[in-house]
């Protein structure tokens, strides 16, 4: 138990000391913090670009089996690299789970706050500007 606590404390310390928030446009104008999501799909596209890295997933509806292509906004490449990413962390065909906030306009678009890679189970912070959600 003590080990787990120390690991958690160390992880949080690292996060606070090395992870500046990348803030570009208004989070709240585009996304709704009261609409969280957790979706799993297959990577179809990665745009490793400023001011936001954007990736797309094919997500299959469990009931209807219909496939919808979603896109997710993360932080800028420099913000992501400070959080352990490289431009090859996400590859086309990878299965990932993404958590974040949905777009206000109802489109298949979201602000990603964390991404979990199915192959490794590794969870990466997405350098989101979510803190301006209030």
């Amino acid at each position: 138990m003590r080990t787990k606590l120390l690991v958690a404390a160390a992880a949080i310390t690292t996060l606070l000391s090395t992870a500046p928030v990348a803030a570009h446009h208004s989070f709240a104008a585009e996304f709704d913090a009261s609409k969280p999501f957790k979706l799993t799909g297959v990577v179809t596209k990665v745009e490793w670009q400023n001011p936001h890295t954007i990736f797309s997933l094919d997500i299959t509806d469990e009931q209807t089996k219909k496939v919808t292509n979603w896109s997710f906004e993360m932080g800028s490449p420099n913000g992501l690299m400070r959080n352990g990413w490289t431009r090859n962390t996400l590859k086309i065909g990878d299965v990932v789970t993404v958590e974040g906030s949905l777009a206000r306009d109802g489109s298949p678009y979201g602000n990603a706050q964390a991404v979990v890679l199915a192959s490794t189970g590794k969870r990466l912070f997405a350098a989101s500007s979510r803190t301006d959600a209030q």
Partner: protein
């Protein structure tokens, strides 16, 4: 309690403890940290010590209305008497900000639409105190032999400012060309770097929440380094075009040991601006 829940709870507690410690760091905070470094001539060194890396981790200060120091020198955000950003209550929620009527109206408009038209969302640079409130790393590079100081900002469009330390005055009349960052002249008052800034254009907001300013804006900044890991920033905002009297904002900027600046070119693929529509549903960019 399952160990997963225990860790989650412990994590929340540690976050709260860190946050509280951070929020309580006021100008008089006494923590056992290294003293601020000095240059060979004794001037405070606001940057790196030779042989070490490090950058200032500029915090995300969204609402300067919560950053007005009280008689104790601490702001509402530092005292913890208000939420860090104060919510979106508009001008009536900020009695300490001396809005003129039009500025009050514009601020309420920006509050209601969640800062949809924030110039930083267009990849335009911050102006005035927002330079120290846009959350990307920053370096201060002193060149006393050239009587100037550079501040280099990774974020909000990869910009720098030069502070003239050679005693020159601001340009007069039309020689003072309005710019995003204004014209900065500085001097040392004991251990405080005092920077006087004039000549702003009107293309920026004071903060993310959308406090407006005019080209009459005059900012007097004070930078102190109370210890190696803290930069205390204070700015007097004097804009008779938007506010009935000057008001002061202040916050701490933490040092990130080992940090370095990296590239950030905001204009590369700004989809937000490409998609942005006005209040009538028309695209902000392009013809109509």
């Amino acid at each position: 309690m399952s160990s997963a829940r225990y860790v989650a709870l412990a994590s929340a507690f540690v976050i709260a403890a860190f946050y509280t410690a951070w929020a309580q760091q006021g100008p008089s905070a006494s923590r056992s940290v290294e003293p601020a470094p000095r240059l060979a001539d004794g001037t405070p060194n606001l940057g790196r010590v030779p042989g070490e890396k490090g950058v200032w981790n500029v915090p995300y200060i969204q609402n300067m209305g919560m950053r007005i120091p009280g008689p104790d020198g601490k702001t509402a955000a530092e005292r913890g008497t208000a939420s860090e950003n104060g919510g979106r209550g508009g001008a009536k929620a900020e009695p300490d900000v001396p809005f003129l009527p039009w500025a009050r109206g514009i601020y309420d408009y920006n509050s209601r639409n969640n800062s949809k038209y924030d110039p930083e969302g267009y990849c335009l640079p911050p102006g005035g105190p927002r330079l120290m409130a846009t959350p990307y790393p920053m370096e201060i590079i002193q060149q006393p032999e050239h009587k100037r100081i550079f501040m280099v900002f990774e974020g909000a469009t990869h910009i720098w400012r030069e502070i003239y330390m050679d005693g020159r005055p601001h340009p007069q009349g039309d020689e003072l060309n309005p710019t995003y960052l204004g014209h900065s002249v500085g001097h040392w008052d004991h251990d405080t770097l005092v920077v006087d800034v004039l000549g702003f254009n009107e293309n920026t907001w004071l903060d993310y929440y959308g406090h407006p300013h005019t080209d009459q804006l005059h900012v007097i900044e004070k930078f102190t380094r109370p210890n190696k890991t803290t930069l205390r920033y204070e700015a007097l905002i004097d804009d008779p075009g938007a506010y009935s009297k000057p008001w002061t904002v202040a916050w701490n900027i933490p040092w990130s040991a080992g940090g370095e600046l990296t590239e950030y070119i905001c204009q590369e693929n700004n989809r937000y601006l490409l998609k942005l529509t006005d209040d009538f549903g028309e695209p902000v960019l392009g013809g109509r």
